[in-house]
């Protein structure tokens, strides 16, 4: 079908974008790469939006190291993340994720901030930032604030971003020298949404494990993490299956998704040289 937009305005800079959102009487919708929003508009799942196009705000794009943290502008495109040397070195999980996201032409336009603000529980980046213990940087009429990834995802397509706020950047600790970051997922076809997927991070402070496609938000699998910290893979798999609440749909049953999650965790564990049990 054809999109139905209420109106369109192109933001010159961040403060202009915030003014435009404030002017939109609650109908404002931030347009970045548009790879989910315009699809939703075409399907008339979203109509009458007052589009605030932020895609030309150049200082919201790019990757940099600031002190001991990696900072990613919200408008950095998936394809850019996939070939960025700083990402490859300091947050390789994100580079792995890029290969799983949709198709090349979508990765050329889609932005990481857009994917996070959209908060599709089956998408890769929300689960990645959860596993990486990232912080999301928001800018609003009242100024800026930071939200930890753990507090950011509220429900399906729902986040902690308040009315009138814009997600401007994501930051996370630099990967430690011997840190392990690994993403594994199962999808029926290349580019499809995963039936289930895991983001695994092991750093000095312990293991962080998040799950995508297994509930209404990306899930931090705390019970499994505790078991993994004890090197108990059997217990971790059982705990993981217990703490998931995945959907049953035409793609897979909930039981099958739980099964896949456990299989993926065992594969990760074997790949990083852990003892199997």
């Amino acid at each position: 079908m054809k999109a139905s937009a209420g109106g369109y305005a192109r933001a010159r800079d961040l403060s202009h974008a915030l003014d435009l959102l404030a002017d939109a009487d609650g109908m404002g919708r931030v347009l970045a790469g548009g790879q989910s929003l315009i699809a939703a508009m075409n399907m008339r799942l979203s109509t009458g939006d007052m589009l605030v196009d932020i895609s030309r705000i150049s200082d919201l794009s790019g990757v940099s190291v600031q002190g001991r943290r990696l900072r990613i502008g919200a408008l950095t495109r998936h394809a850019e993340l996939g070939r960025d040397a700083l990402i490859a070195r300091h947050a390789p999980l994100l580079a792995q994720a890029v290969n799983h996201i949709a198709h090349a032409a979508i990765r050329n336009r889609g932005t990481i901030g857009g994917a996070l603000a959209h908060a599709d529980p089956a998408a890769e980046f929300p689960a990645c930032v959860l596993a990486l213990d990232a912080v999301l940087h928001l800018e609003g009429p009242e100024g800026s604030r930071e939200v930890r990834a753990e507090d950011f995802f509220v429900d399906v397509f729902e986040t902690a971003i308040a009315e009138g706020e814009i997600l401007t950047a994501i930051s996370m600790p630099l990967a430690e020298p011997d840190e392990v970051q690994m993403l594994k997922e199962v999808a029926r076809r290349s580019g499809d949404y995963a039936l289930a997927g895991l983001c695994f991070v092991r750093r000095a402070g312990g293991v962080r494990l998040s799950v995508l496609g297994a509930g209404s938000t990306p899930l931090l699998a705390r019970a499994a993490m505790a078991r993994l910290d004890m090197e108990d893979i059997g217990g971790a798999v059982a705990a993981l299956r217990g703490e998931l609440n995945p959907p049953s749909d035409t793609q897979a049953t909930a039981a099958y998704r739980r099964h896949i999650a456990g299989v993926l965790l065992r594969r990760i564990w074997e790949e990083i040289g852990g003892e199997s049990a």
Binding site: A3, S4, A24, G34, L51, A105, R109
Partner: protein
């Protein structure tokens, strides 16, 4: 309602090397603009939610979905469609290989397929068959079963490297 939000947006862009000025509805996506307003009907509008790849065109050097970008967002952009890419001869070898290898039947997917294939060959000079398949996973073809398309891309990759 604020008057800064426009129902119609003025845009200036380059399409196939020619400057175009237009006033487009805010919700008009790029593929409809190209097809209905400019008469460039090579790329097709099909699923209109980014799945099938039939609308794939080149914007500022990247293959993008024409249905997932608003014409309003193309202000200042350089757009190439299959018409322009054919006229310049930029992908003549790829088009010839599609014919030689029988990589099309009805041709509906072919304009988008060629844009995607060309991008693959500029990013990876000698892709493996698996990589070709993976890259083209976002372009549906309901006729060929893809085997012949992979053959064609592989032939061109080798020929461009002087391996045949």
């Amino acid at each position: 309602m604020s008057d800064v939000f426009r129902n119609k947006v003025d845009i200036t862009l380059t399409v196939n090397g020619e400057e175009v000025e237009a006033r487009v509805p805010a919700g008009r996506h790029l593929i409809d603009f190209l097809r209905l307003d400019l008469g460039l009907t090579g790329a097709h509008a099909s699923c209109e939610h980014g799945v099938c790849g039939a609308c794939t065109v080149k914007v500022d050097g990247d293959a993008v979905r024409g249905c997932l970008m608003l014409a309003a967002q193309a202000d200042g952009a350089e757009v190439w469609t299959i018409e322009g890419m054919s006229d310049t001869g930029a992908i003549r070898d790829l088009q010839d290989a599609f014919v030689t290898r029988n990589a099309l039947q009805c041709g509906f997917c072919t304009p988008g397929m060629l844009v995607a294939c060309e991008e693959l060959l500029t990013r990876d000079a000698l892709p493996e068959r698996d990589e070709i398949r993976d890259y083209l996973s976002g372009n549906y073809c309901r006729c060929t079963g893809y085997e012949a398309i992979v053959d064609a891309v592989e032939d061109v990759a080798k020929a461009r490297r002087g391996l045949t």
